[in-house]
């Protein structure tokens, strides 16, 4: 596998112009997105990077996605996820840690049918691109958040609920945080969203980190798996208003 990857990478670097590698999702914005997020760095489309989602966005403000790069575990520098045809394309950037399995689930807003991508940068400097196409009727990013109509969030901002679920190997954390995650695309409602999530050890040492963008759904529900469920973890968040929240998971 390793050999095949470097061969592909080599061919991407040396000879082929970008358009020679066809986007399997045939997205009109692929080339532009690629330049935006990974520049001219070498890349391969790689089935080992899985993006899981329903075929159709039943609720365009809450589309579940899972990015699973566990097949490349241990070899990952960074993961970037985006939706080609969203007005704000970036969804999250993930910085891994050996204790945390590189597989995360969350919900996103989509404005229309789009390719949803995950680009995984491995230690050899190659981006591995996975993705799936999502059908949607649209409007998810320009719909006012529910929080806009209900002041509940004002007195509960940053409140978290979480739980550790046993898995066959290790454990799974699922947590939910109250936050409007406003995109700034709705008239007179400025963008207001959680920028950084950091998973920390019991002693406060930062482990994995995620940088989020406003397409992450309101009141985010995020799931991730740890290798050792006997260790305790904490979660730390900061939004673009400078509010910080921290809680034991």
């Amino acid at each position: 596998m390793k050999q095949k990857i470097s061969a592909l990478a080599l061919s991407a670097v040396i000879s082929l112009p970008a358009y020679a590698v066809t986007d399997p999702l045939e997205s009109p914005l692929w080339d532009y997105m690629r330049k935006t997020f990974i520049g001219n760095e070498p890349y391969v489309f790689d089935d080992q990077v899985k993006v899981e989602l329903p075929e159709f966005a039943e609720d365009p403000t809450q589309v579940p996605i899972t990015v699973d790069a566990s097949a490349l575990s241990g070899d990952i520098q960074r993961i970037i996820s985006w939706a080609d045809l969203n007005p704000i394309q970036h969804i999250f950037t993930y910085h891994p840690h050996p204790d945390i399995i590189p597989r995360m689930s969350l919900r996103i807003k989509v404005q229309q049918s789009t390719a949803v991508r995950a680009a995984v940068l491995t230690k050899d400097g190659v981006w591995h691109i996975g993705g799936r196409y999502l059908e949607a009727a649209g409007g998810g990013c320009s719909t006012p958040s529910m929080a806009n109509a209900d002041p509940y969030w004002e007195s509960h901002l940053g409140e978290m609920k979480s739980r550790l679920f046993p898995r066959e190997e290790g454990g799974r954390y699922k947590f939910k945080v109250i936050h409007p995650m406003d995109t700034g695309l709705v008239d007179a409602i400025p963008e207001f969203y959680i920028e950084t999530i950091s998973v920390r050890s019991e002693g406060g040492e930062p482990l994995a980190r995620m940088e989020l963008s406003p397409p992450v759904s309101e009141n985010p529900v995020i799931t991730f798996d740890v290798r050792d469920a006997s260790k305790k973890h904490r979660i730390w968040l900061r939004d673009n208003g400078g509010n910080e929240f921290e809680q034991e998971l």
Partner: protein, 307 residues
């Protein structure tokens, strides 16, 4: 083999001009009991091909006029339904019922706007609030079949638990499990139970506005107390037995248990939508399609219980 090919080829030649012909639902009234007809829709999802005709509508011809139960997904459907009624009886249409707020059940109302249209009070509110966006969505899903269709609100809210026309006395019961306000109509004279979308049979149920599966399961228990001869589901074939209720019950129980177990195990939504569907439900159309949507509608509430 050769002759078969020729037949197919000539069919294609004929089909070309036919495709360009005006759209028609080609409604076929099915007489299920005395004075009682059902127009059965397809066991499908909304599409350009079926024009949204995935719904059962009915009418009962009494001595003093006709009662219509639901008007279909579009103005065109409503007009065609009216033509079907006129082909069966000369009697005037006296009352039209909208059993609930969903677009396939009331967007034919325009074809009946000279007639009193009745619904539960909450249904009228719901249509007032969401009707336009439902209609818009239908244009997107089925296209030209919807031409000129606009929301026509029910004219009258139901305040009584029965309505009598001619020798037919109809019991009117308010349920809520499917859409928050669901009207079930029982014709005491014929014993036909018009169960609205509280019952789907051989076609997977839909959940965008259910107040919760527990409420819906209670509704099924309540329906079992009706001594009916025929049951007309909102979607799926008419029967003279209890199979539709038994199927609804086991399907609702399975859904509830599956979502509960998934939430207890901490599954993410993308994992839940891929869970196996019990082989018991193999005969039901669209189980996977609807299950995926149901997960979007309901799973967050189940997750909330197990944080």
């Amino acid at each position: 083999m050769i002759s078969k090919k020729i037949v197919i080829a000539s069919l294609l030649v004929v089909a070309g001009p036919l495709m360009a012909a005006p759209l028609s639902y080609d409604l076929k009234p099915q007489k299920i009991a005395d004075n009682t007809w059902v127009l059965q829709g397809k066991l499908e999802d909304f599409s350009n091909r079926n024009g949204g005709n995935i719904v059962n509508t009915s009418f009962v011809v009494t001595e003093d006029g006709v009662v219509v139960i639901d008007t279909g997904p579009s103005l065109k459907y409503g007009k065609e339904m009216r033509a079907v009624i006129a082909s069966v009886t000369d009697k005037p249409i006296k009352y039209v019922f909208n059993t609930h707020q969903h677009p396939d059940h009331f967007l034919g109302n325009q074809a009946f706007k000279d007639i009193e249209i009745l619904s539960l009070p909450k249904t009228k509110q719901q249509i007032k609030q969401d009707g336009d966006s439902f209609a818009e969505n239908m244009y997107r899903l089925v296209g030209d079949w919807m031409r000129s269709t606009e929301v026509q609100l029910p004219t009258t809210v139901i305040e009584s638990d029965h309505l009598t026309l001619g020798s037919h006395r109809f019991q009117l019961s308010a349920f809520s499990g499917h859409s928050g306000a669901d009207l079930v109509i029982y014709d005491e004279k014929t014993g036909v139970l018009f169960a609205s979308d509280i019952v789907f049979y051989q076609r997977a149920l839909t959940t965008p506005h259910t107040p919760g599966l527990a409420t819906w399961m209670d509704d099924i228990d309540r329906l079992e107390s009706f001594k009916y001869t025929h049951i007309v589901p909102g979607h799926g074939p008419v029967t003279m037995d209890h199979r539709p209720l038994a199927q609804m019950k086991s399907y609702l129980q399975w859904l509830d248990k599956t979502l509960t177990d998934a939430a207890k195990a901490g599954l993410s939504m993308t994992e839940v939508i891929r869970l196996p569907i019990s082989a018991e439900f193999d005969s039901i159309q669209l189980t996977r399609t609807e299950f995926v949507k149901t997960v979007a509608h309901l799973y967050p509430k189940y997750e909330e219980l197990y944080f």
